[in-house]
Subunit: 516 residues, 2 copies
């Protein structure tokens, strides 16, 4: 690899904004070897106004340079990289002429309506794949990511349409997509026998474990492997993985398939499937960060083996940014990380609730398609959010894919709420509410302490506040909730919590000193 | 205005690619006065690879600099220029929550379907206006042009849907938009009495002229004023204006409202309305080209009068590129100019044919909306085509708006052909076919001569070829067409043409020498 290429790659590194993906593409398409270089740079002469922001940007991105792998590109592959706008337009016209003028139009209105909608979507994809704005990713081809962008637009519009129907119409509407849909799902029972070693079963006492070893084990592993590549942070992955198990515990009274055995939750899901997936993901991340990308053009590689290797490498990213979320560095990043975790968990819950309210069997291909979709758009969205947080001065726009993923997650959740408010509003067990309440209080107080107070609070004050909260829970909330707790589980939870508080209140002498 | 600003504007001039519109916006949003300038330019250090294309670009755009008005921008207006992606997402979420969860869903399926489709379109516009790719125009605001881009996507998808319906369903489908539509139009008679001075009418002998002085006179004037601003070329405007009158003559057997009196065609349309519109447009163009744009920020202007003037100037363009089509400079430009004229005329014809086949009354608001739409997108599309032709090495993508306008024009034409093949296939009068045939032959031969042969052809050869063509017309085509000519008009045309050819054949002694 010659010197100029490595220099050029450093340009891409320093600018650091997602738009450099597009720039790279243009350069790929236009570097004409017949035009020789000149030392003066006509495109962007150094002007005072630009310098103002330039210094800022270079400082902002100094740390970023360290988190990105090195890239070398020799700028060939011109035909491959071009968008072929005119070609696509010409082919589209030919297809339209053939289908609409030379074929006989069927007389079936329903069929024609369906066909018209599918044709509109295809034309939209044609437009979008050639013309939509490029995102941060370029490999294997920018058109691939433009395609997924357009798919997310179509999906979001579909969701909006479904959201505006009545519950009955919405469920029946799924029949247009697959006539097998629109039928109520049979009730299923999960959980059941939780013995790891079942002595009652003589043929195979471990049968409970073998029962759980179905297709969902590799699915969990693969899912978390990809999620790790998307989030690119060990800690956030672990937090989300554990939080989701807590959510399953909390919501098993609403969706029966959240109820699992304790060892299924913690050992098989968190430790084995998710843990191994995250571990493998982090290993891959390490490899991607270390890799010095050498994007030599295919025709410049002499050997066949080299050419094939280059083709395979087209499916690895152009360059790799290590995410450093640094949630505690300032309030904005902290809130953003909380928001990301919240949206991530919401999207995961939507997978299950959406199936439930739209009467989709779990093994239906649409469920799988939705996951494939999220895998493809999630990576782009997360990178855009990272860029949005990372360069606040320079790149103020929230990326388009991130915008859409947020809108999609919100719309999916609204559909769930609208289609089955009864299930969503099922009274949460009191014990569970208390746990979440405590969690939120802890997060809030840490936020306050870290970003607003920033002073060394004496331990006595903490005890005082803690005691105040306990008193409040005991005297105001618990008594009120006793009258509201309808089912036995909630009542039992209440009693446990009351005893627990009583215990703290009585047995810690330090707390008793600060009696109110 | 200080020096740095004028320097910076020259950057925008030299790069010359439409993407600079987006750059300008980013600069507007990010130039932070607290960060002081530094002489070294971290964003784009001069690298050898970039220089290759840089020299090329600067050479390509040297001529362009002369065709563009000067621009000065002080880079304020930050809040105004930002896209507010997160704000729009938040408001959208709130609206969705309100409409879908807090309002009672109506039980009417048809109403809900309509509402769902309208909501999908609105969400698409929300997404597009904040996130779509910026085009070449920035004033009054980039979001304005992104809005029209999204509208064209929606319109194109609507057309595709209509294209896939049967003729009956398609016409009835218009009832969903306006219940008054979907009814066959009454037959109308145009043309009629063509006497300029009608002695038979004693009260007002000029009544034929006053009859024509309706709302269409200012409409024609305004239309051609805007078209001139779009095309920005005196010659192309005149050619299109005259060509359209020829088209009206040629197609008056298909659409009765094309039949007008000769003085209506040539004096009132071409000379008075169109001519004055083009003249006014060219005057405005001259003013815009001369104008040195000083885009001072609103808060930096001391007087109130100045502020108001600045606000009004927001509705004038950011900078102005004089179009120099130069059709004869090379084959590519020549074909492109022919293509533009063809598409322009096709779009104009579509206005009339689409009304006819979809049973739209001429005074319906949708007809007007379509024209407003074309005025807004046409300017962007033409500029993108100009850029596409002007910088072939640098900016290879056909602009998104141009792509869409082309697709829309083609789709509209396909709808016309599919919905009323009978009218379109009405036998064209023979005389008219011959005229068009001759025109096409002339254009083809000029193209061949200018771009392929480029030698001085002896006059004798031209006469020989001309004689050959005449002989061909006389012996092969005319005789065959005599048997095919069904109506009297065609037969009369044939006879006129035959006599004409006979005359040339007999009376020019020079031609007789080269007898075949």
């Amino acid at each position: 690899m010659t010197k100029p290429d490595s220099k050029r790659s450093s340009v891409a590194l320093v600018t650091g904004k997602p738009a450099n993906a597009a720039e790279e593409q243009v350069n790929n398409g236009s570097s004409d070897p017949s035009v020789s270089g000149s030392p003066h740079h006509a495109l962007t002469p150094p002007t005072p106004t630009k310098h103002k922001s330039a210094k800022q940007v270079s400082r902002d991105n100094l740390s970023r340079r360290n988190t990105e792998s090195e890239v070398f590109d020799d700028g060939t592959n011109t035909f491959f990289w071009r968008a072929h706008t005119v070609t696509v337009l010409f082919i589209l016209t030919c297809v339209l002429v053939y289908v609409t003028l030379l074929e006989e139009t069927p007389q079936d209105t329903t069929y024609n309506t369906k066909r018209g909608i599918v044709a509109s979507i295809l034309v939209f994809l044609c437009f979008g794949v050639t013309q939509a704005k490029d995102g941060p990713f370029t490999r294997p081809h920018p058109a691939y990511w433009r395609f997924w962008l357009c798919v997310s637009v179509v999906y979001e519009l579909f969701l909006i349409f479904v959201l505006f129907q009545t519950v009955r119409d919405g469920r029946q509407f799924m029949k247009y997509i697959d006539p097998k849909l629109g039928v109520a799902l049979p009730e299923r029972d999960y959980g059941g026998n939780c013995l790891i070693y079942d002595p009652g079963n003589t043929t195979d006492p471990w049968h409970n474990i073998w029962d759980k070893m179905d297709g969902f084990v590799p699915a969990h592993f693969l899912g978390w492997y990809i999620k790790t590549l998307v989030i690119r942070d060990w800690w956030m992955c672990m937090i989300i993985s554990v939080m989701f198990e807590f959510l399953e515990y909390s919501l098993e009274h609403q969706l029966p398939n959240f109820s699992e055995c304790w060892w299924d939750h913690w050992i098989m899901d968190v430790l084995v499937c998710n843990g191994l997936g995250i571990y493998a993901g982090m290993k891959t991340l390490g490899w991607l960060s270390m890799k010095p990308y050498q994007w030599q053009g295919l025709w410049n590689i002499p050997t066949y083996k080299g050419k094939i290797k280059r083709m395979a490498f087209q499916f690895t990213p152009y360059s790799w940014v290590k995410f450093e979320w640094k949630p505690a560095s300032n309030l904005r990043r902290w809130l953003a990380v909380l928001g990301i975790i919240f949206m991530f968990l919401l999207a995961e819950l939507n997978t299950f609730y959406l199936k439930f309210v739209l009467w989709m069997p779990p093994e239906h291909y649409l469920v799988l398609l939705r996951l494939v979709f999220f895998v493809n758009v999630g990576g782009v969205a997360m990178r855009e959010i990272y860029d949005f947080m990372d360069d606040p001065k320079f790149y103020r726009k929230l990326g388009q894919q991130a915008w859409l993923v947020a809108a999609i997650t919100v719309t999916e959740f609204l559909i769930v709420v609208k289609y089955d408010p009864r299930t969503i509003m099922l009274p949460i067990p009191f014990f569970v509410t208390q746990c979440w309440f405590l969690g939120i209080v802890l997060i809030l107080s840490w936020t306050l302490w870290r970003f607003f107070i920033r002073i060394q609070i004496p331990f006595s004050t903490i005890c005082y506040v803690y005691r105040l909260i306990l008193k409040l829970i005991k005297e105001k909330i618990l008594i009120n909730l006793h009258t509201m707790a309808h089912n036995d589980k909630a009542k039992r939870g209440l009693v446990i919590l009351e005893n627990f508080i009583q215990k703290i209140y009585k047995n810690i002498p330090y707390l008793r000193k600060y009696s109110l």
